[in-house]
Each structure stands twice: as C-alpha cells, then as structure tokens.
C-alpha cells in the first residue's frame, strides 16, 4: 500500500474523512494519474477540458461542480468535497454499494456497458432502479457534459425502524 492518494478535507468544515485511494481506479487508463491538489490555487489550467456535473443530493438540492475527463463520479464527489453521508465507503474498489447514483434514461444510455462485477454490487443497493449505476465506475467524458446524477436515499423511509437483513 505504498502509493496511496490522500484527499484532505478542510479543517474548517470539521471534516472527519480522509480518503486513501488506490491508484488502480477504473478511470486510470485515461492517462490521469498521481497527485491532485484539492487546496485551491494549484489546479492545473485546463478549464476548456472540464465537464460540468449536477448532483441532486438527498435533500433535493442541486449542486453543480466540474470534473476532468477520466475522473470517476466518486473522484468528483471527493475532489469537490461534496458531503454525501457514507458515500464511497470502499473507496472505489467495487466492494460496497454506497456510491449508488440514479440517472435519467438518456444519460444512462450514454454511460456504457455494466460489468458483472459492478452489477453484483449494485444489486445490493437500496432503492435500485433500471437507471442506477455505481459512481466509482462512471468515467467523465465530454459527451457527458451537463449530466445530472441523483444521490438516492440509502435506507428505508427516514425514521422508520428497519431490520438489518441484507
């Protein structure tokens, strides 16, 4: 585990999570590797290459951010410090379903084929739909400019007791 990528949350936000990411993310093939700085002022000058993504959080609020082609949606959530409770627990290694996102039909079609491995984990997600995907497996490209991704509830209706069966 020698080469881990770590994302630091700003202390002002009383951040509690720090992500140690493996280099072998599914989007690494795009050629983007290595260290990203999340502290402002040191982003590479590539504004023409950015892809706008709109997230709808669990309160129904729209949050607009930008990512680079090749970033996964999980990367974007981490880089932009988006505060979705419990998102990305396994850090993009297809070992959980907490980066579950829901898309519109037309966007979903553009996202490409789903591997068995992703489908297997997606099957465990709460509120699974026909247009659900795992955010850690979706790579940004310019054709996804302006895409909308909804973060679904991760439990049964709020404030109702649930049994713990998987």
């Amino acid at each position: 585990m020698a080469s881990l990528l770590t994302a630091f949350r700003r202390i002002a936000h009383a951040g509690v999570r720090e992500y140690a990411r493996r280099e072998a993310a599914s989007c690494a093939a795009s050629g983007l590797t290595g260290r990203r700085s999340f502290v402002t002022g040191t982003q590479p000058l590539r504004s023409d290459n950015k892809v706008t993504v709109h997230f709808i959080n669990r309160d129904g609020e729209k949050i607009t951010v930008e990512g680079s082609p090749g970033d996964s949606l999980l990367d974007v959530v981490i880089n932009e410090d988006l505060d979705f409770d419990g998102f990305g627990a396994c850090e993009g290694t297809l070992a959980c379903s907490t980066c579950h996102l829901i898309f519109d039909e037309d966007v979903y079609k553009k996202l490409g084929p789903v591997t068995d491995e992703e489908m297997d984990m997606l099957d465990l997600a709460y509120g699974l739909t026909e247009t659900s995907r795992l955010g850690c497996q979706i790579c940004l490209s310019r054709s996804l400019q302006g895409m909308v991704a909804r973060v679904p509830e991760s439990v049964a209706d709020i404030r109702q007791s649930q049994d713990g069966s998987s």
Partner: protein
C-alpha cells in the same frame, strides 16, 4: 394582596422566561456543558455512530471503548483475508479516531472493568455497539464432538482473533460440511478450497495458512434447509466460488426443478443470483471451462432441503465421522417459504462440520435490558427501551445480519435519534459530565490500563513490518499479551 401577587408573578414569569431564553441561546451558540458521549465497541457500528455525531455537532466529544487492545471489530476479525478492499473503511475509522473530539480506549472490558451504570454517570449518553460475539447453536447431539466448529470460531481462527487461537481445526479429512448458506458460509468454503498461493499474499494468519497448506480437505458441501431461491448469500461470493481456481462445482440439477419457471418474476438481485446458480447446476459449460473443471481436484456444491439432526462419531467416539441430514420439503414460496421435516434422512461422511447459522449478541451488563428471544437490546430507532441516556447501534440493535453499509446506515440512524433527543430536551444535558476523566480514574484504581489509538498504531506498524518480510500486508499479533507488550513498549 392580589395586586402584589400579580406583580410578583409577573416578575417571576419574566425572569423565568428570560433565563430560559438565555439557556436556549447558550446551548445553541456555545455550551458551557459540552455533550459527552461514549460508545461501547469499536467495530463499524461504533465508528460510524461516532463519525456521524462528531460531524453533525461541533461541541460533542465521543469516547470509544473496546475490550481488545485493537480496534475495528469484524472488519479486522470477520471480513475474509482475500477481501482486502472491504477493509478500506478502516481509513475512515482511523480519521474519526484521530479527530480532536474523539478518543479510543482499548483493553477496557465494559461490564467487567467498568459497569454501564458507571458509564452513564460519567457521560450524557452511552451507545452500545458491541455486536454479536456468540453464535447460534444447532442444538443437535454430537455438536460438541471434535471436528465440529461454529463459523464464528473458524473465521476467528483464520483471522487471528485471540480467543480462537487454539482452535486447531482438524483438516485431515476429505469432506467438510458447512451448515448455512450465507456469505460467511461461502467465505469459509472459499478459504478451505483456495489455492494457498493466493492465500499466502493475504492477511490470513501464518498458523492458519500452514494448516491449510497441509489440509486434506478436497470437497466442501454447503447445506441449507430450504431451496435455491432462499439462499442468504449474495452473488459476488457465489461467483467467486464458481471461478475459484483449482475447483469445480458439484450441484444437483434435481434441486432446481421449478426454478426456471419462477425466475422471470423475481426482483433483479434475486433473479441474477438464482440464474447463476441454475446455470452452474444444469448448463454444459464452454470447452475451456469444461477442461478447467476436469483438471480440478477440489470440488464444492450447494445442497438444499437438508437440516442437520445428528453428528455421528467414529467408532471410538473421539471424532466426527458423518453428519445426519433430514430431508425437508418446502411450504410456501419466496422469502417466506418454510422448511418442513419429512421422515427421510441421509448421512454424509465428513470429518469437519462447520455450523454457519448465525452470530448472536450476548448481554454484558445486568442493568441493560436484553431480549433473549431475539438476542438484541430492545430499542426504538436506537433508543434503548425504558433506559434514558442509553442507545444502541449495529447488530446489537437489529440482529446479526447485514453488510458494512447496512450497519453504517443503522448507526447513522441511532446518531440521529441521539441528536434529536439532545435538541428536544428529552436527553438531560443540564449537568456537566466528567467523561473519560472519571472513567480513567476508576480504571486506574482497578489496575486496568487503556490502550490509546497511538498505542494501537504501534501494534499496526509492527504487524505491517512483520508482514513485509513474508510478502503479506500484515502479520497479525495473535495474543492480547503480545499486543499489549508492543502497545506499551
């Protein structure tokens, strides 16, 4: 008199209202009384509950108590060694533990070194997250014979749980029978049959690895009471078995009568799982796969509609020789289908029987309400019944099923209940609480020394270092004594 009373009451009323207003404002802006909360248990439930509280309120302090010198519970001792990605959550837990408002105290046995009542005196709220350390027994004759183990102990053995170190399971037989078809059962089957070349690069303990290298086990049957459409395992684990190098599946097509017809109506997760099982049982695989299977000398299979009724000993009564299985028929369908015993039985020769029918929570303190029927602490959304200030999260709250993400949501939910109670006044936050200060004084008096998080980091570093020299991510320390030695060096 009347007038005086009025003025007086008027003044009193005004003063009372004013202090109340100040109090409310005081609590909202800065509490002279910092909320102090403690969590019992440092597995996913404990850490996710703590994480949620610390993040949501800027004033709350959380202390996590753990019986062992090492944190992380089942993430360390339950997750299979060949599933390292599942353990990535440890990074999040580590950040929580290192937060300024969080403290970890290992080597503290709640219920023995300090009581829950004493915790309640020292903290505004106590959250019980100590999980399920016991196991459901089969309740059949021969269950205590040599060669019969609970899944909890077997998993604890290969994962380095100190209390399971001496298990020394006998792997000299050809066939192993696992009762239960959940993910734990599949993990055990996979560890028993995996090529040791794969296992030797994982966190599996060295003694377990060496035992597996000498193992004669060639065939593992994973037995369930009901049918293919009721299995509790998930597709990822089943797919791993189907693809396991050096092994071939051995399923009975007869078990799948009626299944193809039922598949189209199943929800997608259940459908894909059943399709994979069916395919493995009845389909002729492609040439390449056929060849691979014919060269494999290890096999595994799911067996359905069977309940264990007896473990048969060898002639001198010292070891397991076989397990007697009663044949069931299924009444009803879907998740609610019930297994009903018939008169038919079947004996399966085997030397290793592992019962994987569920973990079970145990009561740790007589002052805490406990439902022995369900083996959980009775609660409503994490609030322990009839026990103000006491909460629970994780398996102790809902029963021992669910993956880490399930526990995460469950813990966030308990944290929300606690915060609601803090905000509404249902939880008495008026008194200043001494928190860890008084508990540590008590512990010192009783000769108990806690292990801090930086002490754990010494253990962590030592394990990683030991692992490096033999090509493993870590080589776990196997005894509490050893852990404490390193922690306090």
């Amino acid at each position: 008199m009347h007038g005086f009373k009025n003025i007086f009451s008027g003044v009193t009323l005004w003063t009372w209202r004013r202090s109340r207003w100040i109090n409310r404002r005081g609590e909202a802006a800065f509490s002279s009384c910092r909320p102090k909360v403690c969590v019992v248990g440092s597995g996913p439930a404990g850490f996710y509950t703590a994480q949620h509280l610390i993040k949501a309120r800027q004033d709350v302090e959380v202390d996590i108590y753990e019986r062992l010198p090492v944190p992380f519970g089942l993430v360390r001792f339950g997750v299979a060694p060949d599933h390292p990605e599942v353990k990535n959550v440890i990074n999040t837990f580590t950040q929580t533990a290192k937060h300024a408002r969080c403290s970890f105290y290992g080597n503290v046995n709640i219920g023995k070194d300090v009581s829950v009542e004493e915790l309640q005196q020292a903290y505004h709220a106590v959250i019980l997250s100590y999980g399920a350390e016991g196991n459901r027994r089969m309740g059949i004759p021969g269950e205590d014979l040599a060669g019969v183990y609970s899944a909890k102990d077997f998993v604890g053995w290969y994962n380095g749980l100190p209390s399971c170190r001496e298990l020394s399971p006998d792997l000299s037989c050809e066939t192993a029978v696992i009762l239960g078809q959940g993910n734990v059962a599949l993990d055990i089957a996979r560890i028993l049959l995996s090529p040791t070349d794969i296992l030797k690069t994982t966190e599996i303990t060295q003694p377990a690895l060496e035992a597996l290298m000498e193992s004669k086990v060639r065939r593992v049957l994973i037995v369930g009471r009901r049918g293919p459409m009721q299995v509790a395992c998930t597709i990822k684990e089943l797919r791993e078995m189907v693809k396991l190098p050096g092994t071939r599946p051995e399923m009975l097509p007869a078990d799948f009568v009626g299944v193809p017809e039922a598949i189209p109506d199943l929800p997608r997760p259940r459908k894909r799982l059943t399709e994979l099982m069916l395919k493995t049982a009845v389909e002729l695989p492609a040439e390449e796969e056929r060849e691979r299977r014919s060269k494999s000398c290890r096999s595994w299979g799911l067996r359905f509609f069977r309940s264990p009724v007896l473990v048969l000993p060898n002639p001198d009564g010292t070891r397991t020789a076989a397990v007697r299985l009663a044949v069931n028929k299924l009444e009803g369908s879907g998740e609610a289908a019930r297994a009903v015993l018939t008169d038919e039985v079947e004996d399966v020769t085997c030397g290793l029987v592992i019962s994987s029918i569920g973990y079970k929570s145990l009561p740790i303190d007589p002052s805490v309400p406990f439902d022995s029927g369900k083996a959980i602490v009775p609660n409503q959304m994490g609030r322990v019944q009839q026990a103000p200030g006491l909460y629970c999260s994780g398996w102790l709250k809902t029963g021992p099923t669910g993956v880490i993400a399930t526990t995460m949501n469950n813990s966030f939910d308990t944290a929300r209940s606690l915060m609601e109670d803090m905000d509404s006044g249902d939880l008495d936050m008026s008194a200043e609480k001494s928190g860890a200060l008084s508990i540590r004084t008590l512990l010192e008096k009783r000769g108990v020394k806690p292990v801090t998080f930086s002490d754990w980091e010494k253990i962590d570093n030592m394990e990683v270092k030991k692992g490096e020299s033999i090509g493993k991510p870590r080589e776990k320390l196997l005894t509490v004594e050893n852990m404490l030695q390193v922690a306090w060096a």
